[in-house]
Structures are given as C-alpha cells and as structure tokens.
C-alpha cells in the first residue's frame, strides 16, 4: 500500500486543476502582447487573479502573482531596505521588525539578512502549544516598529495564531502587518479585511495547485517595491513574464478549495482524531506537539522518545508510507526542529518527532495501515536504541 501523509510539504494536483492545465497546455502567448495570442493568455491570468482575490476577499489589483510562497515572504520583508532608501520616496520604514521564532526559514533567514542591513529584528516566543504571547507582542510594539510578520498556521505543528488581534495591535501602533498564510489559505476561511492585514502570502502547491506559483496580497495604498525588478508585469510589482499555466492552475485550485474546503477539513479532523487515538492506544511514551484544538485539521506532530526521526521516516518509507521529520537531520542540518524547540520540547524529544499531514486523498484505510505499521516500527527502533537501557543512558559507560 502506498500512503502519502506529507501534504504540508506539497500536494498532488487536484484532478480538476490538472484537467484545466492540460487543456491550456498549448496556451503560450505572452500576456503582455496585444495580439490574439497575448490577449488569450492575459484573459486567463486575469481570470485567475479574480478567483484568487475573490477567495480571500481582496480586490483584483491587490493580488500579485509570484513564483512561490518563499518569494512572497522575501518580497514583504525586503521592503524594509527599499522603504529605508530612495526606492519608495516619501516613506521611511521604521527600524524594527517583529516576527516569531517559529516562522518558516524563508522569513527567519530573510530577517537575519535584514538585521545585517540595519534592521532591528525581534522574535516572539511561543508557548508549549506554539501560540505567541500577545502581552509580549504588546511590550515589543512601539513607534519604532515598521512591520509585524506572523504566520497564520504553522507548517510543522499546525497551530493557528490569532491574526485578527495581532493585526489590530500592529496597526494601532502604525506598523504594517504581514501574515504567511501558506498553510492556512484553502484550509480555513481567510478574509483579508476581517484579518486586517496589509500583506498575505499564498502558495499554489500546498492547495492542490501547481508548484512554482504563489500570490501575494498587497493592500491598496501600502508602500511597495518589487523584489524582482525590470519589467512592467503585475503592474510593475513583479517583473518576469507570467507563469501563465501556473497562474491558471492556482486560480482553479482556489476555486476547487472554495467548493470542497469545509466538508474536507471536517473529514480530515475526524481522521486525525482517529489516528491520534490509535497512536495513543498502541504506542507507549508518546507526546503530541502543537495545539490540541486550535490547529490545522490535517496536521499531526508526534514525538517518540528513544526513536530518531529520520530512522522512523525511512523505515516507514520502506513500508510505502510518506511522513516528514521535524528533525532537520534528514535534510542535512544537525539541529532539531526550531519550531519544536521554541515550544519548549527538549532536543531529544524534538529529534524523535514526525509530522503526519493528511489531505484530500487520505482515507480511513490509509490511517489504519499507518496504525498497523507505526507501532512495530517504533518498537523495532526502540529495541536497538540506547535510550531504553536500564539504569539510564550513562550507566554503562563508567
């Protein structure tokens, strides 16, 4: 049996998206051209734009198509440099940026870069469930803060933040508000007006659309400077000939999400509850990470002390099951997940964590298969682990 439980990493194309993209495969015109080929491409790009805008309560000209969620996040944060220079005349970006310790690396590493270029970056702590502390935010806010960037739902543990309240607080002190909503859009209702944000990041491939396309919501009137310069595309806000097929696919993806999201997320929530109960019943000494209720319906992060994450991932791979590990060991870094560490999970527990992320193809049979394979996989790894030697790990080496 083949089981894909890694939907937070990426998703397959929705069949309807695939169909629409396949039918459009011969559309090659440049949307900037005035002839019929160009006008056809333009019509499809603008149609997609209005679908995306409608999906999040934005106006069409507030949507900028970009190459990825990472690009959208880089674009927003990098405004700090441009708004502090001549790029955006009449604007002076304040010197401080506030973000959290659990953001995606594309936010954290860009923030570090900005710190090297003169920004003062403050990182919000999170509690054991991954929620930021609004009192700490309050204490950090001041008339030096130019931008607050807080992700809407965390990719590793699924925890939601109260963006509506955070936005109000940020804007009341005159700061711009950005949320990386890559994991949230298409899973929960998102309305930019209700959230009160100035920028919001969307990615295509997390919601059954194609890779290589994302969208950035930029509230009308917000200071802006393109991250990729040198073209008039996207009303001068993102140079480069449009990824027409990708954009068309993203438009179809949000349309399908609008139809399916609500019922689908309810189904995933009960599937997750089933998995959680099964893991609890069948495996000793486990810990669930993230918020128990206020988190993504399909995301389950669990630690198995004594079993290392990459070993779990690869033994499951041998059985046809795809999950991901919070430990970055698999991806080449030596450090355990920064998200889990920020929630106060110790390094050992963080090393032994996996993320199971469900999606629209996930079934009860798949969940049962995982519940069959996982207990013996963990048992097998623990049997060969030093962590379970009587008398503690250090007793033997005297």
């Amino acid at each position: 049996m083949k089981v894909y439980f890694d939907h937070n990493a990426t998703t397959p194309l929705h069949p309807e998206v695939k169909k629409e993209m396949a039918e459009a495969m011969d559309m090659f015109g440049n949307p900037s051209s005035m002839h019929a080929w160009g006008r056809e491409a333009r019509a499809n790009v603008e149609d997609a734009r209005s679908r995306v805008a409608g999906f999040i309560g934005a106006q069409n000209d507030e949507i900028v198509f970009v190459g990825s969620g990472s690009e959208a996040n880089n674009t927003v944060l990098s405004l700090f440099v441009c708004a502090s220079s001549q790029c955006i005349p009449g604007t002076k970006m304040r010197s401080t940026i506030i973000t959290t310790k659990i953001e995606h690396p594309c936010v954290l590493e860009t923030s570090e870069c900005l710190a090297h270029r003169g920004a003062r970056v403050k990182y919000l702590d999170v509690d054991q469930y991954g929620k930021i502390d609004l009192d700490q935010l309050e204490s950090m806010l001041g008339d030096d803060v130019g931008l607050v960037s807080v992700m809407m739902a965390n990719n590793e543990i699924g925890t939601f933040q109260d963006i509506e309240t955070i936005s109000k607080m940020a804007r009341s002190c005159g700061a711009l508000m950005h949320t990386d909503a890559v994991q949230a859009v298409g899973k929960v209702p998102v309305d930019v007006n209700r959230l009160g944000v100035d920028f919001l990041t969307i990615s295509g491939h997390k919601i059954y659309g194609p890779k290589g396309v994302g969208a950035l919501y930029v509230k009308k009137g917000t200071p802006y400077c393109p991250f990729i310069r040198g073209g008039h595309q996207e009303r001068g806000r993102r140079a480069g000939t449009e990824n027409t097929l990708g954009i068309l696919g993203l438009g179809k993806a949000v349309e399908m999400r609008a139809l399916e999201m609500e019922a689908e997320e309810e189904r995933l929530a009960s599937l997750k509850a089933f998995l959680k109960k099964g893991i609890e019943e069948r495996i000793d000494d486990i810990h669930f990470n993230g918020h128990p209720t206020d988190s993504l319906a399909g995301t389950l992060n669990v630690s198995f002390p004594g079993a290392e994450g990459e070993a779990i991932l690869l033994y499951l791979d041998l059985e046809g099951i795809a999950v991901s590990t919070g430990s970055a060991c698999a991806s080449g870094s030596l450090d355990p997940s920064h998200v889990l560490l920020a929630t106060g999970v110790d390094a050992e527990r963080a090393h032994g964590s996996i993320r199971i992320s469900l999606g629209r193809s996930s079934t009860m049979q798949e969940a049962e298969y995982l519940l069959d394979v996982l207990p013996r996989t963990i048992q097998r790894i623990r049997n060969m682990s030093t962590a379970y030697i009587k008398g503690g790990a250090h007793a033997a080496s005297r």
Binding site: E308, A311, L318, L334, E348, M384, I389, S397
Partner: protein
C-alpha cells in the same frame, strides 16, 4: 519520466539499516567483557558497543551494540560490529570513522558525523576491558582536553578533523559536531583549528 531514485545512501548502508546485525538484546551488559558508550540523546546520536574478548589471544569474539540515531548511525554501528569480530584489541583500537564509511560504501557528506561515534564507543569498550582486567597501563588515555562540553569534543578530535581535511570552522563543525549546541567553545576551537593547520600543513 524517471521513477523515484534510490536513497541518498549506498546499497550496503541500506541493507544494514534494513537488517541490522548484532543488536544487543535486552538491557543487561553483564555477559560482556567490555562496554563503551558515546554521544548523547540530546544531540540525536548515542551509541553503545559491547565486546567479548578471548583473554589468551586478545581477539574480539563478539561485538554487539545499541544505537539511538538516524539511518547512517544505525548502519555504521551495525557494520562496525561485523568488522571488529576476529580483530585483536590493538587492531580494533585503530579503526577510524573513515574505515567505517569506506566499508559502508561511502556516506553522504552531511552524514559523516553520524559514523564517528561508533569507533569512539568501540575504543571506550576496549579501554573498559583493560580496566576490568587490571591492565590500566594499557588504557590509551587519549590525554585530551575537552573543548566542546556539549558534544564532548576534545583537542584530539579537532586535530583529527584537521587531518581529515577540515580547514574552516564550519568544516570543523561538520566533522565533529563541535559547537552545534551552545556554541560557547567557538573561540577556543577556532584557535586550535589554526594551530593544527599550522603544525600539519604550515598554513
């Protein structure tokens, strides 16, 4: 369109991961003649090696292990346990991480650190055997000074890493995992790095 490629690991490594050899069963080390443990759970790798030794010939007759760690950590302890059986204590003492990696058919660069604990644990087990048998004089005290407290990395380890090709602090970290937890040893480690580069390579 291509199908899913192989893992980043060699076939040999994959085999040892799928069917690890000589895992120590149960929790008791009583039946063994030497016990060594290295690493810690916080860092994501810990290995214990236990040996049985023929007292006359000083040949290792059995070697078993427990490992907490990733696929290459599990596989490298497994293959190490196969390699040392039949070796004398002196031969086994000189097994290096490179020998283990070679036997595994190579390791991805970012996984070299996962294989350095097995040979350390083996040396600890051999020293433990000497102590238990009244041969304290044969214990090869690596008269080393611990530089990185978190990862238990000594000046000897830094020297070895330089000999293996580490030239920058980052490369030193890749070889030894030094300074990857609290980072307080960075200055001392950097000056030792310069010193050993100078001694061995005149750099």
């Amino acid at each position: 369109m291509l199908q899913a490629g192989e893992w980043a690991y060699s076939e040999t490594l994959k085999e040892h991961f799928m069917s690890p050899k000589n895992i120590m069963q149960g929790e008791s080390t009583d039946e063994f003649d030497g016990v060594g443990m290295e690493g810690n759970l916080q860092c994501g790798d810990q290995m214990m090696v236990v040996i049985k030794v023929d007292k006359q010939s000083e040949v290792i007759t059995d070697c078993q292990w427990k490992t907490y760690g990733c696929a290459s950590a599990i596989a490298s302890t497994s293959i190490l346990s196969e390699m040392v059986k039949g070796m004398t204590l002196d031969q086994a003492f000189h097994i290096s991480p490179k020998d283990v990696a070679k036997e595994l058919g190579g390791l991805p660069e970012n996984k070299i650190h996962c294989s350095v604990l097995g040979d350390k644990a083996l040396r600890a087990a051999i020293n433990n055997y000497f102590v238990r048998n009244g041969m304290e004089d044969r214990v090869k005290q690596e008269q080393a000074k611990i530089v990185c407290q978190c990862m238990n990395i000594t000046d000897h380890d830094i020297e070895e890493a330089v000999l293996e090709g580490a030239r920058t602090y980052f490369e030193l970290q890749e070889h030894t995992k030094l300074g990857t937890v609290c980072g307080q040893c960075k200055d001392e480690a950097e000056s030792l790095l310069e010193k050993f580069k100078h001694i061995h390579f005149g750099a």
